[in-house]
């Protein structure tokens, strides 16, 4: 993975010093809150329902064992012993003190971490495929391109005060594991007819109040134009994105209102001029970064044999491991979704264990997925059993990847002042109702996503089953949506009828799974059956 050189380190150190000074001025009264707010947001520090909340960046979801140990240390030293992994591959801490944040950021900087631009109206964390570098179907590792964009976007002087937040995702396989089409910019690395690697750009996807799937605006941008092309996209947005209405301020609204064709024309016009300005790093810079993502020293000729004598282990192998591009290796997903647990939360002890396992068994690298799990991307099959035993000891061995138990839930009204309803208790009740692994596996792939408000941090628009919490005259109410997907078969889920109370939504989820079981034909996932039979059988079962 990428490692800072002296320049990168100098920049994060400078940011710590700058923020320390801004905090001092806030606390002594020189800097009022309405000027300080966006500055602390640019360092990921929110004021939330119970306290300050800090969102630490995990660039494209990749971190080392040492960095994961630091996240555990942060949880213990500055918070209440746990953290929450998010749907943008970051981590959030809920009990921060403003006066301690500069020291916390200094601790992070000591291991090449930061909270730069994880909030605010600027370019946010660039997300990517959590199987990068391991999946057989990728045409290249997307993360060097994400790193190039990360550096370009950090402290970019022209784009610090955009109409709204800006989220970029980069993938490099036809399988979309990062919900790329639902980002402000989605990039898919492709090869042109000459076999040269380039970026296919999608612009204007997003969820929230008005979900949209991003259209393709350019089939191929070569590496040496990646930056100037991205600049053109951002400049058109900065100039013409709506600033009159916070809920209409994302780039998806601009693309939708202009139409993709006109928006593309404006970008190309801007790009024609910007590509002459010397904005693009030489290809040598991408090559320099790419070298950090070279394959680790895989052993060759390892056996693919796994001793499946332990039935619980066998189930976990089947459910939570994926094929690796190298024989004898596997990709492991550590579930942060135990039945009845809080999706995406991990204690400091659990973080330390995962860090140790990464160092011992996974070339010291972990990934955070946008579905709030942790991945060890390069694990020898021979080591799987030991790893599973260790995970099991810390409650991290739920064998539910991509099953209904592997649900996404935003923090919701338990933590978030934007929320209308609590999401975690709903997640807990559903996961308890479906706790039996056999039952989950019988249902098969079923992506359940729960948001506590219309901002859709729980990605409910992209759920095979989505749940949206709303406020109905001061009482929590839950709407059921069906048929969404954040994968390459991207689609937006639809609300199917009146909402339910907390117990009602749990029953409703069970009802729709029963409809699926009754109607499915061979090999159909829930999503496939829904797409085939339509919404009516589900509506009838729920509403009579």
């Amino acid at each position: 993975m990428y490692q800072y050189d002296k320049y990168d380190q100098a920049m994060v150190d400078a940011r710590v010093a700058e923020f320390r000074d801004q905090v001092r001025r806030r606390l002594d009264g020189t800097l009022p809150e309405d000027e300080f707010r966006h500055l602390r947001l640019k360092n990921g520090l929110y004021l939330q329902l119970h306290a300050y909340m800090l969102r630490v960046a995990i660039p494209y979801g990749t971190l080392s064992g040492e960095q994961m140990h630091m996240l555990a240390h942060i949880a213990r030293r500055y918070d209440r012993g746990y953290g929450h992994f998010t749907t943008r591959q970051n981590i959030q801490y809920n009990w921060m003190k403003l006066e301690e944040t500069p020291d916390l950021l200094a601790d992070l900087a000591s291991v090449e971490m930061h909270a730069i631009q994880t909030s605010g109206n600027c370019i946010r964390n660039i997300s990517s495929d959590h199987f990068a570098g391991a999946a057989a179907d990728e045409i290249a590792d997307p993360r060097p391109w994400a790193e190039l964009l990360r550096q370009w976007s950090s402290f970019h002087p022209e784009f610090q005060l955009l109409p709204r937040k800006f989220k970029i995702a980069v993938i490099a396989s036809p399988t979309d594991r990062a919900a790329m089409r639902l980002h402000d910019i989605g990039i898919e690395l492709v090869r042109n007819a000459d076999g040269v690697l380039g970026a296919k750009f999608f612009v204007g996807g997003g969820m929230g109040r008005t979900p949209m799937i991003g259209p393709c605006i350019r089939d191929f941008v070569p590496a040496e134009e990646l930056i100037s092309y991205s600049e053109a996209i951002l400049r058109v947005y900065n100039r013409y994105g709506r600033r009159d209405n916070k809920y209409k301020a994302r780039i998806k609204i601009l693309v939708h209102e202009l139409g993709a064709e006109e928006y593309t024309r404006q970008v190309e016009e801007e790009f024609a001029q910007m590509k002459t300005l010397g904005l693009d790093p030489p290809v040598a810079e991408l090559e320099r970064i790419t070298a950090y993502f070279a394959d680790p020293a895989f052993e060759q000729g390892l056996s693919d044999e796994i001793d499946r004598a332990d039935p619980d282990f066998a189930v976990w192998v089947d459910q939570n491991t994926h094929p690796h591009k190298v024989p004898g290796y596997a990709v492991v997903t550590i579930s942060l979704k135990p039945a009845g647990g809080i999706p995406g939360d991990a204690s400091a002890d659990q973080m330390d264990l995962m860090a140790d396992l990464a160092a011992r068994f996974a070339f010291d690298e972990l990934r955070v997925t946008h579905t709030q799990n942790i991945v060890l991307a390069h694990v020898r099959k021979a080591d799987l059993y030991t790893i599973w035993q260790q995970l099991d000891g810390e409650g991290l061995a739920s064998a539910n990847l991509d099953l209904i138990g592997d649900m996404i839930a935003c923090p919701g009204l338990d933590y978030c002042s934007l929320a209308n309803a609590r999401s975690i208790p709903v997640a807990q009740k559903i996961s308890e109702r479906f706790a039996d692994t056999g039952r989950q596996r019988e249902l098969g792939e079923l992506k359940l996503k729960i948001s506590g408000c219309i901002n859709a941090c729980g990605h409910h628009h992209a759920g095979h089953i989505g749940i949206l919490g709303v406020d109905r005259k001061g009482v929590e109410n839950y709407q059921l949506l069906l048929g969404g997907s954040g994968a390459e078969d991207v689609s937006l889920a639809k609300i199917i009828g009146p909402g339910f109370d907390e117990d009602g939504i749990v029953d409703a989820v069970e009802t729709v799974t029963n409809v699926y079981l009754g109607a499915r034909t061979d090999g159909e996932r829930f999503l496939d059956t829904y797409r085939r039979i339509g919404v009516n059988p589900f509506k009838e079962a729920l509403y009579g």
Partner: protein
Amino acid sequence: MAEAQICYRADAPVNATAASFADFTAGSNAAAVRIEPGDDARVLVPHLGQIQLIEVNFPSFGDGRGYSAAQIVREAGYTGELRATGDVLADQFVFLRRCGFDSFAPDKPLDPQEIEAAEGFFPHVYQTSSDGVAAIWALRHKAVS
């Protein structure tokens, strides 16, 4: 005209009343023009030779359109005074400078110590911009001479 509190130019700040964008584009011969956030700076590009002062107004610091306006005129070769007016604050100073502003007429006077501190934090920059400072990637790949 918004008088400059801070100016980085060798010559004195231009002392001329800036024409509104509407007046300027309607054909006034003014040497100074004022851009509001919704004005299209590109319209000025053919006239940059006659302009000595462009004021870019920030009615609210959170509206970042002026940064793009500044970059556009500098990229087009404008070498005159580029003055940021309005809600101009110390914590955006470095970004404003990087986008090509060399003169500042803030509503609230800027504290010179805060400006000096702000300018001293970051030793490098990650991206090429109107200030011409070499980006980190350029420092990494300096041609060996």
